[in-house]
């Protein structure tokens, strides 16, 4: 088994707000992130797939295909977007780094055939990242 990781970057804005909280609770729990005008980050995405090395190609996965899938399924939807308003998942879920990692996993998982998705890592900033290994 070999693990392969591909990185990508996207920039987006978001804010944190739960309809289940009062305005005071939202401000207390989410602090500055509750500003409804939003704020932005340069996110770094790391997608790790795993599989056996194909004896003919020497590949775990066709990198070009993986890059295309990441672009089509994730970057085209999230890069230079206001996540709360433009990405369907975040109209009902708060676009925390945790939920972004889960959304990326759910977008990529059904599109990958050759290799198995192992981990999605999303850096919100260089000092904060979330890993998601699937729903099990």
């Amino acid at each position: 088994m070999v693990y392969l990781t591909r990185k990508a970057e996207f920039s987006a804005s978001h804010y944190y707000h739960s309809p289940e909280f009062t305005p005071e609770e939202n401000r207390r729990v989410f602090g500055k992130c509750n500003n409804p005008n939003g704020h932005g980050h340069n996110y770094t995405l790391e997608v790790t797939v795993k599989g056996e090395v194909d004896p003919r190609s020497g590949f775990v996965v066709d990198l070009k295909q993986l890059k295309e899938i990441m672009h089509r399924e994730v970057l085209d939807a999230m890069d230079h977007r206001f996540l709360n308003k433009e990405v369907p998942e975040f109209m009902t879920k708060i676009p925390t780094t945790e939920n972004i990692a889960i959304a990326v996993w759910q977008r990529l998982r059904p599109k990958l055939q050759q290799a198995q998705l192992h981990r999605v890592r999303v850096y919100e900033t260089p000092d904060l990242f979330v890993d998601f290994y699937g729903e099990d």
Binding site: T96, I102, D127, V130, D131
Partner: protein, 140 residues
């Protein structure tokens, strides 16, 4: 759904590697420049990884402000700009980065109940780092 969250912190401290169980010559042979009696310092980078279900209401594994407060109070305020050998936990135990990594893991396991502590990773320099997950070691 379970996710892992990692936060990175910086602190600077000095230490000297010297074991009371070894002779002067053995200490010098074992620790080399790190045995300098006057000590020396590092800029440490600490990575704390916690895990747990993502809360359906907040979208979070745990509140980052609470994690930051805990690490600041329990770890950074204890070690930042300090001489590690002067701490009681390193009065006998040699303050290698291995032992510091274990100590920080145990401190956080005691003091941060909001999520499961998965891993403490400590970079002594850009070239070496240590990880402790509570029961096994990985050295890079």
């Amino acid at each position: 759904m379970k996710a892992h969250l990692t936060r990175r912190y910086l602190f600077s401290a000095s230490h000297r590697l010297n074991s009371p169980e070894m002779s002067v010559d053995e200490n010098l042979a074992t620790y080399g420049k790190c045995n300098n009696p006057h000590g020396h310092g590092h800029n440490y980078a600490l990575e704390v990884t916690v895990s747990g279900p993502v809360d359906a209401t907040t979208g979070m594994v745990c509140n980052l402000v609470d994690l930051d407060d805990c690490v600041e109070r329990e770890v950074l305020s204890r070690y930042h700009l300090e001489n590690l050998n002067a701490r009681k936990e390193f009065a006998v135990t040699v303050p290698t980065t291995e032992n510091l990594c274990i100590e920080i893991f145990e401190i956080l396991q005691r003091s941060f109940p909001d999520a499961h502590l998965e891993r403490v990773r400590l970079e002594e320099t850009m070239m070496n780092s240590f990880e402790y997950t509570g029961n096994n070691w990985v050295r890079r």
